[in-house]
Amino acid sequence: MFRLQGSKVLAVDMTGDAVKAKNGSMVAYDGRMDFKKLTGGGEGIRGMVTRRITGEQMTLMEVKGHGTCWFADRASEINLVDLRGDKLFVESSNLLATDSGLRTGTSFTGLRGASQGNGLFTTTVEGHGQAAIMSEGPAVVLRVSGQYPLTVDPGAYVAHQGNLRQSFQSGVTFRTFLGEGGGEAFQIRFEGDGIVYVQPSERNSIAGDV
């Protein structure tokens, strides 16, 4: 059972079950816990190879035991996500912990990843259970529906879930090269049904400068 203690610490109550968490993110525990490094994120040889090839590196550990374990990472804000059979797309650097029953994998994101400097691939989490994602500043959760498509700055994008199509928009014109660009030259547009998590801060990316 995941719960937030404050907004920057994740407390997980365990009764013999296990969670997967970012390596080294445990800050305290109560009771009896075993920590095991999951080579290749627990995705087997194939997942390991995929992650090595795609550069979407993620070191996870498995925590198992009885009691409460607290996780935190660099005072980032933590957001809880409930998954009911749907798929969560998140940058591996923003994923803090998942129920051990959730499957993690990698997926191709295309140009969005490239424009925010996160590579062309992203991490997926799917199944039934809870996941905790991190953001710089509390994330704003925005609903996308057929009526309301959403456009997001790649540097502020954290994660999304649901049945969303993403397309990449570029506002690069000749003015960008004259130094008179709009400052928002790269944008991702989400259409469909689902929710998007954005953080009130922009990662340094090429998109921030043009």
């Binding site: 509390p138 609903r143 502020a156 400052g183 929710i195 009130p200």
Partner: protein, 265 residues
């Protein structure tokens, strides 16, 4: 805070997002209805609806520059958002707040100003590194920690100063009993003998409001434009009576006085 134990996060859509108000302490929502807003480059994080972001130099927007911008030299750091929809603004997870001016004036550190309505005019302040907004309208500013409003007379730490409204007299103040003489200079320079780090303040008197942030972390300074090289223009470098070599290094706000002079060199 958007999440509570037991409850899911608050999911926003265009109908629940606040109009021209904070979504949380770090994110601000602006509604555009065919209207325009000026933004610092790269502070938009997401929007619903259809919007355009154009550099100030865009031909069609020339009129706006003439009415709202009076320092063409730094216009390239600003963009105009136009269209319809709701837009979220944020800056490095700093606190953001909106302020309303009614036929008023407010001077703000250039790095702290995020966005403003075109009904306001943005001008360079005489104080280097600061910008002045004049007129009626709303603007959005960021600060490291919540902003505190103080009434003059007050002396404030240079790093905590965000801006001031209506006060005519910002000036430097030094604790002279502690700072003068060779020993004072040495103390300030080396910290030996106990420099408190608070020997220099900004002083405000008169009627008005002073805006302070609750930390001494400065926001990255945005270029506020240069000033014409003319005699009598502060920072212009053309004033007579300045010694050689002094015009080269601009005096930053918060910088101590020249140590050479303190040592009598």
């Amino acid at each position: 805070m958007t999440t509570h134990p037991g409850a899911g996060p608050v999911v926003h859509d265009p109908t629940t997002l606040p109009v021209d108000d904070n979504v949380n302490a770090y994110t601000f929502c602006v509604e555009l209805r065919g209207s325009e807003w000026f933004l610092q480059k790269g502070k938009m994080i997401a929007y619903y609806g259809s919007m355009d972001f154009n550099g100030i130099g865009h031909g069609r927007l020339d009129r706006l520059v003439r009415t709202s911008f009076h320092s063409p030299l730094h216009a390239s750091d600003w963009v105009v958002a136009s269209g319809t929809g709701r837009m979220l603004l944020a800056d490095r997870a700093f606190d953001v707040n909106s302020y309303d001016l009614d036929k008023g004036n407010l001077t703000i550190r250039s790095g702290n100003l995020l966005a403003f309505q075109p009904t306001l005019a943005l001008k360079q302040s005489i104080v280097p590194g600061f910008l002045t907004l004049i007129g009626t309208g709303t603007f959005v500013a960021a600060s490291n920690g919540p902003v505190v409003f103080m009434e003059p007379p007050i002396r404030v730490d240079p790093q905590a100063l965000v801006g001031w409204a209506d006060c005519p007299s910002p000036c430097h103040h030094y604790d002279h009993g502690y700072m003068t003489g060779v020993m004072g200079g040495l103390r300030a320079l080396t910290g030996l003998g106990g420099a408190s780090g608070e020997e220099h303040q900004f002083e405000f008197v008169g009627a008005g409001t002073v805006l302070l942030q609750s930390s001494e972390a400065l926001m990255a300074e945005q270029p506020a434009g240069t000033v014409p090289h003319q005699p009598g223009v502060p920072g212009g470098g053309g004033a007579p009576g300045h010694g050689p070599g002094q015009g080269g290094t601009p005096r930053l706000p918060g910088q101590l006085g020249d140590l050479q002079r303190r040592f009598g060199l």
